[in-house]
Amino acid sequence: MSEVASNHYLEGLLKTYSQHSSDVTPWLSQMRNEAVDRVGELKIPTKRDEEWRFTDISSLTDIPFQTAQTIPQLQPADIKHHYIQEAATRLVFVDGHYASALSTINNDSGIIAGNLSMLLPSYSAKIAPHLGQHVSYGDNIFAALNTAFLHDGVVIIVPQNISVSSPIQLLFIATQKEVTSHPRCLIIAEPGSNVTVVEDYIAGQEVAYVTNAVTEISVADNAHVNHIRLQRDSNQAFHIANCTATLAHASNFQSINVALGARISRLNLNVQLASEGAECAVNGLALIKKRQLADTHTFIDHIKPHGTSRQLHKCIVDGAAHAVFNGKIMVQPNAQQTDSSQTSRNLLLTGQAQVNTKPQLEIFADDVKCAHGATVGQLDPEEIFYLKSRGLSEQAARNLLTYAFGAEIIERIPVISLKNQLEQAVLEYTQSTES
């Protein structure tokens, strides 16, 4: 893609940018203005950029994806099947706009949840230290674009020592073709709190659109956050996401990322173990086929001592699909007693399926325990034979093993109905494989 095309695309996008005077808070409008400036200076990355060498997103600029001008009036009946039954609080966004009629907010547990423009007047002091502070937009064009268009979004504040027993569902539905939405989520878990959040991206119809999401998560001292991110966008869509979690002292962050949809998807997930004794588990599953591309870049940064990180990333690649995994683990000079392990496992179901996996371990401390490894392979003939010797057909054996490969991640989802739903999705995927 030429620079001219890139700049033309970005200018086109910014034309739809407008000041919403009603919700302007000085610090927020200043942030937006800075982001607009950064958009003017940055370019859409190409395969010449190291961070994008396997993922060609030049086709993104072929269509001038604008933000939605009109929003369809969805009825609860239209989207009810996407509801997670255990969720007491559900925030729904349609084409990037908050749909209050479809949303349910339950404050019984003591949480503060809602959309940014509603909560900003009362909670500016809690929001300002975090919004735009975890995902930096200075050198990231997509985060800058999201921030430039930041007028609304999700805010969840879990006050000190509050445990929310039921999960919170954030549902982002795309219904229109050739539209860009910029979903934004801010999750603030105050000291000693505990919360489970499901961020769920859904296609209203099988058309081409762009989702450009940013999620920021602050996990304070001794807090515990389960974050499940589910990308089931249209198979023609582009999905770009930047997510950062910052972990304070003795906090715990459990992350599960599942990519099923999109023509091209890219997730940048950063976990900063910014204080002593922080723990994280980062699990990923990409389940793709045909000509899909799913790219996951993770960065787990051990900044302080006694941190623990566990990462398992799996890709199941069918058809002529292409999975990319780049997992960097950094152990900073004073992050002694770090305990880290990373595994990338990849299953290729056809001869055309492709995976690029790159585990990266950078250790600058001397008293650490770190392990990492990657495997790329096909189904094991001995496993297939075992199942066939029990009466299963070749196809049933292959399906079961493929399912099992994915189920290892799905099983870790702490929300039962979602787990069941995804197990079903994996089952349907395996039954439609081209192999």
Binding site: Y386, S389, G391, E394, A397
Partner: protein, 264 residues
């Protein structure tokens, strides 16, 4: 158990097989009647496990000559899953671990696949749960094994019990136990052997592939065959196993006067 009126369940005739062009079986003849238990013994590399895998249909081995007739049908013409459905069962020496698939899910799938083939009704998860728990008592297995992934993190003994549990569920006609005694402590061996003894009857037959005589104290064979270099070089009754235990394997080759490196 040898009965006078029993008919052949398995007839192996002049079976030759190779893997990657290397001959492993060099002419096996073996007839097994309904109701019988046959032990196949031999040193490592004698071909006894290969025979077990070939009977189950492992694709790594090429049959280069000979026939295998199972209940009047050409067994070698059947795919592994067809053999399983028509009643051949191999208890693996090294059962495969399948993380991500719950044992009960796997057992029910296998059970229902085989039942359907036999024209019987499938069991739903609740019905199957009752059924499998009953069978597990036979092997003194903790019901927790149903919820764990197939063989994942099982000890050697637990894996072998899980194999015999599958045998109990699938009710095969030909049970092939490949080194089922390996890696078992004495208690586990007793439990597994008990389970097998309760499953053998006049309507099935059993092949015990084993290295040691120990298993045969618990499961008493009608015949003992000794394999060497891809052939059965001696056949006898259960007392042959005891003789092997005291004298080792070397004397047989000398007695039978098999020339070193004899080719066929």
């Amino acid at each position: 158990m040898i009965t006078n009126n029993s008919k052949p369940l398995l007839e192996v005739q002049g079976l030759h097989a190779s893997v990657n062009g290397v001959a492993i079986l060099k002419g096996i003849d073996l007839t097994i009647n309904y109701g019988e238990i046959h032990a196949i013994m031999g040193i490592n590399g004698s071909g006894k496990s290969t025979l077990a895998k070939i009977l189950a249909g492992h694709s790594a081995y090429q049959v280069t000559a000979g026939n295998v007739i199972f209940d009047g049908k050409d067994l070698l013409a059947l795919a592994p899953e067809e053999r399983a459905r028509s009643g051949v069962f191999l208890a693996f020496q090294y059962p495969i671990e399948i993380p991500g698939v719950a044992n009960n899910q796997f057992l029910r799938l296998a059970y229902n696949t085989v039942q359907t083939q036999r024209g019987k009704d499938e069991l739903d998860p609740l019905e199957f749960d009752d059924y499998v728990r009953e069978k597990m008592k036979l092997l003194e297995m903790n019901p927790d094994f149903l919820d764990r992934s197939v063989n994942e993190g099982f000890s050697g003994g637990e894996k072998k019990r899980n194999e015999i549990l599958q045998m109990a569920l699938l009710e095969p006609r030909l049970n092939i136990l490949d080194e089922t005694d390996s890696g078992l402590d004495i208690d586990a061996l007793r439990i597994v052997a008990n389970g097998v003894n309760q499953l053998t009857n006049k309507d099935n037959a059993t092949i015990l592939v084993t290295h040691y005589q120990r298993l045969l104290n618990y499961i008493v064979p009608d015949y003992v065959h000794v394999m060497n270099s891809g052939r059965i070089i001696k056949t006898g009754g259960k007392e042959l196993a005891l003789e092997l235990e005291t004298r080792g394997y070397d004397w047989i080759g000398a007695e039978e006067n098999i020339p070193e490196g004899a080719a066929l």
